[in-house]
């Protein structure tokens, strides 16, 4: 994991002091609310429905035990004893007081964390594959790139007042777990077919929200050494030419769409050609310095099969089921990556109490080489677990209420906070998620249904990624009540696709039954071993639409 040097440390400390000064200037009236709001947002402070909200960056989703314990402490001391992991792998506290935020930032800085650029019209916290460094399908670890971008984008003098927010994601694997094509810039590490050198495939203009779009490739093979200059060129074109007349048309995806990906790429290349790369890019020693922090940890040499594990699996079907569903193949023999579900029945998706955070921190320290990850699906990962330790981990998780075996299944629902917290929401999302979880609580049934991603957003901003849910649910307001629009066929993976609307909106109580009907069509029609999304692709929308029309309506 990356560790701050004296410069990183000083930068973050100075950011804390700067924010404290901004708060003081707000209180004495030097800064108007209109001036202060963008400044507080750039430090992750929102004013939500009931209180302020603080969004803490978890850069590319990586944490150590000490950091997670500090989050637990902040949750207890300054919040209500719980936090919410978001689809951008950040952590949100829902109840901090503005007066306490400088102190919270100080506690974060103590563990090399911050809230820098977790909101606002600037380059946001960069995300990466949550199985980085672990996955078998990885060409190169994306985290050194992500860390380089984190530093480069922090307090950027030119790109801190962009037309709109700007999100960058990096992956180094075959399977795109970072959903790079749904980002303003997506970087995919790949090998050049001739030189075998690792390069970036650069896509621009992806994004969800009001106008969902899949990013377009503007460079097939960008040499790694040119990264920062190329990013500077993209950002400069966007900063100068992105629309500022309409907030809903201000993302780079609209510019790319309006002038065309080719023309956009041409402008970027023209700007890039004028830049003096060596004076902008990080030198190779700096890149190597960062990369060294992500060198593989000290793995033991282990047999590929653990007898302890196999015996425990044979003896305990519930444990066996959890191992089957919640672990992922590791590139090192004898190791596995464990995904801890933050979707147990009855809990808001992505929420974790301070006590649960401490439990997970202990497990990471003891069993996962002091490392853990946050996934965009709002779960946690212990990335380096010895197979033989799985039974002990499972028992501890069970005691903390975190042993749900549902990763990737119908109850592993992605949900934004919705109207229970969010000031922008048009409807609630958490209770919808909970009602569906309840409806499909039966483990046997979940297993029978297999992989199915439900994603819920409480408004068109799509923080819950509903567009790319196999089943997407969007909460809206219709004639003074909450109404839910269901989409089908979205996909966040390699075959990224935007879901299509099934029919008229539903009342909250009608949603679980509607999901039930959709699932019933799949179960009746599927071929041998065909997943939900594959079946939807093969069958098309028609049979699902027909079933959807039969959902009993509460009101005409």
């Amino acid at each position: 994991m990356y560790r701050y040097d004296e410069f990183d440390e000083r930068f973050v400390r100075e950011r804390v002091a700067q924010f404290a000064d901004q708060v003081a200037r707000r209180l004495d009236g030097s800064l108007s609310e209109d001036e202060f709001k963008p400044l507080r947002l750039k430090n992750g402070v929102y004013l939500q429905l009931h209180a302020y909200m603080l969004r803490i960056a978890v850069p590319y989703g990586t944490l150590n035990a000490r950091q997670l314990r500090q989050l637990a402490l902040i949750g207890e001391r300054y919040d209500r004893g719980y936090g919410h992991f978001t689809t951008r792998t950040n952590l949100q506290f829902n109840w901090p007081k503005l007066r306490d935020i400088p102190a919270i930032l100080g506690l974060l800085a103590d563990v090399e964390m911050h809230c820098i650029q977790t909101s606002g019209n600037c380059i946001r916290n960069v995300t990466a594959d949550h199985f980085a460094g672990v996955a078998r399908d990885e060409i190169e670890d994306p985290r050194p790139t992500a860390e380089l971008i984190r530093q480069w984008s922090s307090g950027h003098p030119e790109f801190s007042y962009l037309p709109r927010k700007f999100k960058i994601a990096v992956t180094g694997a075959q399977e795109d777990r970072a959903v790079t094509r749904a980002h303003d810039i997506g970087l995919r590490l790949r090998r050049h077919p001739d030189t075998q050198e690792t390069c970036y495939e650069v896509s621009v203009g992806g994004g969800l929200g009001r106008t969902p779009m899949i990013g377009k490739v503007v460079r097939d093979y960008l040499p790694k050494k040119d990264l920062l200059a190329y990013l500077e060129a993209i950002l400069r074109v966007y900063n100068l030419e992105g629309r500022r007349d309409n907030k809903y048309k201000a993302r780079v995806k609209i510019l790319v769409h309006e002038i065309g990906a080719e023309e956009f790429a041409r402008r970027v290349e023209a700007e890039f050609a004028r830049l003096d790369g060596p004076s902008i890019n990080a030198d190779p020693e700096e890149v190597a310095r960062i990369a060294a922090y992500f060198a593989p940890p000290a793995y033991e040499t282990l047999p590929a099969v653990s007898n302890t594990l196999e015996a425990a699996r044979a003896a305990n079907p519930a444990f066996a089921r959890w191992v089957e569903v919640n672990t992922t193949a590791h590139k090192v023999p004898g190791y596995t990556a464990v995904t801890i579900s933050l979707k147990p029945a009855g809990q808001a998706p992505g929420d974790a109490t301070s006590a649960q955070m401490r439990t997970v921190a202990d497990l990471a320290e003891r069993y996962s080489l002091d490392e853990l990850r946050v996934t965009h699906a709002q779960n946690l990962v212990l990335p380096h677990v010895r197979l033989r330790d799985l039974p002990a981990i499972w028992r501890t998780l069970g005691e903390a209420g975190l042993a749900e075996a549902n990763i990737g299944l119908v109850t592993d629902i992605i949900s934004c906070p919705g109207l229970d917290y969010c000031a922008l929401a048009t409807a609630r999302s958490i209770p919808i998620a909970q009602a569906i979880q309840q409806r499909f609580a039966d483990a046997q049934r979940q297993r029978e249904i297999g992989p199915l991603g439900i994603k819920i957003s409480g408004c068109i901003n799509a923080c819950g990624h509903h567009h790319v849910g196999h089943i997407g649910i969007l909460g809206l307001e219709k004639r003074g009540i909450e109404s839910y629009q269901i989409t089908l066929g979205g996909d966040a993976g390699e075959n990224a696709a935007i879901g299509e609307i099934l029919g008229p909106g539903l009342a909250a109580e009608e949603v679980p039954a509607a999901i039930e009907r959709i699932v019933a069509v799949y179960l009746a029609e599927r071929l041998e071993a065909e997943s939900f999304i594959d079946a939807v692709r093969r069958l098309g929308l028609a049979p699902f639409k027909a079933a959807f029309q039969e959902v009993p309506r509460a009101a005409a």
Binding site: R26, L27, D28, G29, E33, L47, Q48, L49, H50, A51, Y52, R80, N94, W95, P96, K97, L98, R99, A348, L419, D420, Y421, A425, R428, I430, P431, Q434, G480, I481, E482
Partner: protein, 118 residues
């Protein structure tokens, strides 16, 4: 504030967020002819006519200028058992708290019942 044309239907209450704490606060009667903020929605002053609404608006403008609250606006309500209840579900949540956590927020008495010492 001459924007009476854009005003919500009456009766209405005035709510805002406290600048320093972020808590949802309501304008309530305080002393003779005065107004002050309360965290208790049941104590919100209900404006039933234009004069009363104008008074709330003037209070809001002064408090925004004085940097004590943010996001102050009038909310139309119905009286239920003598208590003002916002007509829109969004503002109703602001008087209650998160619906999935009945143990938190105003519905749990936070900021309303005297806080425990400590």
């Amino acid at each position: 504030m001459a924007a009476a044309a854009k005003r919500v239907p009456l009766p209405a209450i005035l709510l805002a967020n406290d600048l320093l704490d972020g808590d949802v606060v309501f304008a309530a009667a305080a002393g003779p002819g005065g107004l002050a903020w309360t965290r208790d929605p049941a104590r919100a002053l209900v404006a039933s006519d234009d004069a009363a609404a104008e008074r709330l608006e003037a209070f809001a403008a002064a408090e925004l200028r004085g940097n004590t609250v943010v996001d102050a606006y009038l909310v139309d309500i119905a009286l239920e058992g003598g208590r003002p209840v916002p007509r829109h579900f969004r503002e109703r949540f602001k008087t209650l708290g998160p619906s999935n956590r009945p143990d938190l927020g105003k519905q749990a008495g936070e900021g309303i019942a005297p806080a425990p010492k400590g």
